[in-house]
């Protein structure tokens, strides 16, 4: 399979996924998008193996790294500004507070994940001691999950109840 054909198929799959996702959300079915996402990912992995040309090289990885860093910065700034604005106007609508908190936590989680992955890449690239870092990251991820789950239920449930009236 040629690279162009693979890219066309990938684009088609993305379009189909977007349609399925939007329709599923409208009909409040969350199982179908999850199943299609898994199937599509597996399909793309299989197709990728059949491509004999080089799909990405060091220049793409360099660009990907720069783009990811910039995307994180842009998202963080937008989220933080939006959080402050929403938090400042929380008296106008009580729904603003959980949204602001969600934005704040998502930004923190994004930065934490980025830092951990960066640290992991930085350390393991030059050493063989990968297991210690993997264990450390799993522990931190568990702590982050427990903290997030612990904080969010009442906010989330309260928000859902408020939306449903």
């Amino acid at each position: 399979m040629t690279l162009k054909k693979y890219q066309k198929i990938k684009l088609a799959i993305t379009i189909v996924l977007a349609i399925i996702f939007s329709q599923s959300i409208i009909y409040k079915n969350y199982l179908i998008p999850l199943a299609t996402l898994i199937i599509a990912s597996l399909g793309l992995i299989l197709l990728r193996r059949q491509v004999k040309e080089v799909i990405a090289d060091e220049r793409d990885y360099l660009n990907a790294g720069k783009s990811a860093g910039l995307a994180i910065q842009v998202y963080s700034w937008v989220a933080v500004v939006a959080m402050f604005v929403l938090y400042a106007f929380r008296d106008l609508n009580p729904a603003y507070e959980p949204i602001a908190m969600t934005l704040a936590f998502s930004t923190c989680l994004l930065m934490l994940t980025y830092s951990l992955i960066f640290k992991f890449q930085n350390k393991t690239k030059f050493s063989q001691n990968k297991k210690t870092f993997i264990v450390l990251i799993i522990i931190l991820a568990i702590f982050a999950s427990i903290f997030t789950i612990d904080y969010f239920p009442e906010k989330t449930i309260g928000f859902v109840k408020m939306v449903n009236g």
């Binding site: 040309e53 080089v54 990405a56 090289d57 060091e58 220049r59 793409d60």
Partner: protein
């Protein structure tokens, strides 16, 4: 940075696509390399030089 990749590639009658396949890069990367718009890694520079049967010093002029 200037490169003599195009020159050496022409000597060996290689297309950009062929050179890209030889060094495990995309054709666009070879285009950028030839235009002197991309600083390759030492490995890629070495691979290109080997594929073009020359040395890094001869290919890249800083």
């Amino acid at each position: 940075m200037q490169t003599k990749i195009k020159e050496y590639r022409a000597k060996l009658n290689l297309t950009q696509d062929q050179l890209a396949n030889l060094v495990g890069a995309r054709r666009e990367t070879i285009v950028f390399l030839e235009a002197g718009k991309y600083n390759p890694s030492l490995k890629l520079a070495h691979d290109v030089a080997t594929a073009l049967k020359t040395s890094i010093d001869n290919l890249f002029i800083f």
